[in-house]
């Protein structure tokens, strides 16, 4: 079943909270929080987060198109709300990404 936008937001905030504890980020985490400007993430962090999202939902999402659009902005950054919108818009109901090796990831 396709997760709701609220579920996607809840999932993503949970990941960010567990990770941000590791680098002692204590700022707010809400839909307006910017991943780079507020949380201090680096561009590669966002690329890797995208890979993790695909593994989590077992779907290939068009992140490179998304990053191409973000990369052309005057200030390349993404809010948590935008991230969630992107995932919600592109997730389909049926998981299609499996580990090719046959080992669950």
């Amino acid at each position: 079943m396709q997760p709701s936008r609220d579920q996607i937001l809840t999932d993503f905030l949970a990941i960010l909270r567990s990770l941000s504890d590791d680098w002692e980020y204590s700022g707010e985490l809400n839909e307006k929080t910017c991943l780079i400007a507020d949380m201090g993430l680096e561009s590669l962090d966002i690329v890797v987060l995208g890979a993790n999202v695909q593994a989590q939902y077992k779907q290939v999402l068009p992140f490179s198109e998304f990053f191409a659009e973000v990369g052309q902005r005057e200030l390349p950054d993404i809010t948590i709300g935008e991230w969630v919108d992107f995932i919600h818009e592109h997730l389909s109901a049926q998981p299609i990404l499996e580990s090719k090796e046959g080992v669950a990831a």
């Binding site: 680098w23 690329v47 890797v48 987060l49 593994a55 090719k100 080992v103």
Partner: protein, 539 residues
């Protein structure tokens, strides 16, 4: 319990650097280990690059069969979009998965293409492009991160990737920054050793694999301080200090290797390998500039990405070519740094100005011929040593995910995808770059002593590791157990046992262009395998 087999990966290690360091007493343990075991050159993959090479080492399959050609991959066969490759993209079974299926457990530390961490019976701490802020996600079992973060001195910022540091490696460091940068990598290797020791002492597995990647990073940046050929060019005090820091790194590494061998105990088989060798890169070849000047590529803004643009890996680097190229006037381009691969734009609904199928072969042949004519304007030397069409070197179900043309540069280097005023520019002083011949060193009770073998293939390592674990060798592995490295008594006691590879039913590919569309029949494949054998990549 003690591990039965330990693989110590030394990314980019070359005997050209190690031999002098063994001879001058910097690496006394390695010197004794080499003398008491078996060693050989180890031929890398095409391209000689970390992701395809380690993946071939850990699967026993060539890139056309495992689908990893670079750090990045195309989203689909004819897609201009690229993405960072992950463990989910590895299309062949790894030795740790295979060991699990035979009830053996494995530990996997710091290998590329292990994020997200595979759910194996054992432990994984992912390496490669693993940002330190997300190292928790690279650990399996999930609670492993909380266990290793309590280790004395543990610092995720040092053990995983911190782009603030990586940027220096990519852009070069200032004179005063070399020593701190080398010290960081010296500490980093110790962090990985501490994790390994903790796991061996608390939850040992049958197969231990660990990768030390500082060797590659030091050699990229500090080649002239390491290669004895350039020793006469070192004249200033700071240069001698940097040289000494490099030597210290290798001395520390020697100590870590000795400690790992001691931890493993006298009954373990120890294998040390590198994914590729190293040598000096004396020039930079700006491939997209050459393509532009010869009418194959056009920048949307007329200029393209300049060397002054940040080279830090991230969103922009994954995507910028999609909007910086003029797709109505581009037939060929290189979008991925590292793999020396050129893509041809094929005509389809998304690329109406691309090359029709009927003109594809002609364009590839023309490009290959013209590329091989490029000369260094200063020396007159050919810049390109070889230009391969993908069907010449990439056999397998992922063949159409490979670049259309892959280059080997004369100096072994990696081309630049940035735009430039010139096609070729000298590198003074030279930096270090990849070379095809890596290292193989093995020791243990079943390994022959004091033997130097002819060159082995990187594809031979997976069969050897499986053999050392008393496991049968699947027939679809492309290499061979190097039986000349093994004591005859062991071979009599345990002959190499091959088993028919299991059908690929368990391997499920995503629906994004990874189907077998190679269009090769058995005869074609046999011919391609013969070519690969002739090139020395397949036994």
């Amino acid at each position: 319990m003690k591990p039965r087999t330990v693989l110590i990966g030394l990314d980019g290690a070359t005997f050209a650097v190690l031999n002098p360091l063994m001879q001058d007493g910097t690496m006394p343990f390695l010197q004794k280990f080499v003398a008491s075991g078996t060693h050989a050159l180890l031929r890398s993959t095409i391209p000689a690059l970390t992701p395809p090479a380690w993946t071939s080492m850990m699967t026993g399959r060539s890139p056309g069969y495992h689908g990893i050609f670079n750090f990045f991959g195309k989203e689909a066969a004819n897609s201009a979009h690229i993405r960072l490759l992950t463990s989910n993209d590895v299309g062949a079974e790894t030795i740790w998965s295979y060991a699990n299926r035979h009830d053996l457990r494995a530990t996997v530390l710091n290998f590329p293409l292990t994020f997200p961490a595979p759910h194996i019976d054992g432990q994984v701490v992912a390496g490669g492009w693993m940002p330190w802020r997300q190292l928790r996600l690279g650990c399996y079992p999930p609670e492993l991160y909380d266990r290793i973060k309590t280790l004395p001195g543990f610092n995720p910022r040092e053990i995983a990737m911190d782009m603030a540091h990586e940027e220096k490696a990519l852009e070069g460091v200032q004179q005063e920054e070399y020593e701190g940068w080398i010290e960081l990598h010296t500490r980093r290797e110790r962090h990985w050793f501490n994790v390994l020791r903790f796991l061996v002492e608390n939850d040992p597995t049958d197969l231990i694999t660990v990768l030390f990647d500082g060797v590659d990073k030091l050699q990229h940046l500090c080649w002239r301080f390491l290669d004895p050929v350039y020793a006469p060019t070192l004249t200033e005090a700071w240069e001698f200090r940097v040289r000494q820091q490099c030597v210290n790194y290798f001395a520390q590494l020697d100590g870590l290797i000795a400690s790992i061998v001691e931890l493993a105990g006298p009954d373990a088989t120890i294998v040390m390998t590198s994914d590729h060798g190293f040598g000096p890169q004396v020039r930079t070849f700006f491939v997209n500039t050459w393509l532009q000047q010869h009418g194959y590529l056009a920048w949307a803004d007329g200029e393209g990405p300049r060397p002054s643009e940040t080279s830090v890996l991230g969103m922009k680097q994954v995507a910028r070519h999609t909007y910086q190229l003029d797709w109505t006037r581009t037939q060929a381009y290189a979008s991925m740094p590292g793999g020396n691969g050129i893509q041809i734009v094929r005509a389809d609904a998304d690329h109406p100005y691309g090359i029709p199928d009927t003109e594809y072969d002609e364009l590839c042949a023309k490009l290959v011929a013209e590329l091989q004519q490029i000369k260094d304007p200063e020396t007159g030397e050919a810049v390109i040593a070889a230009a391969w069409r993908r069907e010449e070197v990439f056999v397998g179900p992922y063949h159409d995910m490979a670049p259309d043309i892959t280059l080997e540069l004369q100096d072994g280097g990696l081309f630049s995808i940035l735009a430039s005023e010139t096609i070729v520019s000298p590198r003074r002083p030279p930096t270090g770059t990849h070379a095809p011949d890596g290292i193989f060193i093995a020791g243990g009770p079943d390994i022959r002593r004091g033997v130097e073998l002819p060159e082995l293939s990187i594809l031979d390592i997976a069969p050897l590791l499986l053999y050392s674990l008393d496991l049968p060798i699947p027939t679809d592995l492309e290499g061979q157990v190097p039986s000349e490295a093994i004591e005859p008594s062991r071979l009599i006691r345990q002959p190499v046992h091959k088993v028919t590879a299991e059908p690929k039913a368990a391997v499920v590919a995503p629906e994004v262009g990874f189907e077998d569309e190679s269009g090769l029949d058995e005869e074609d494949e046999a011919e391609l395998m013969r070519r690969l054998q002739a090139l020395g990549y397949v036994e």
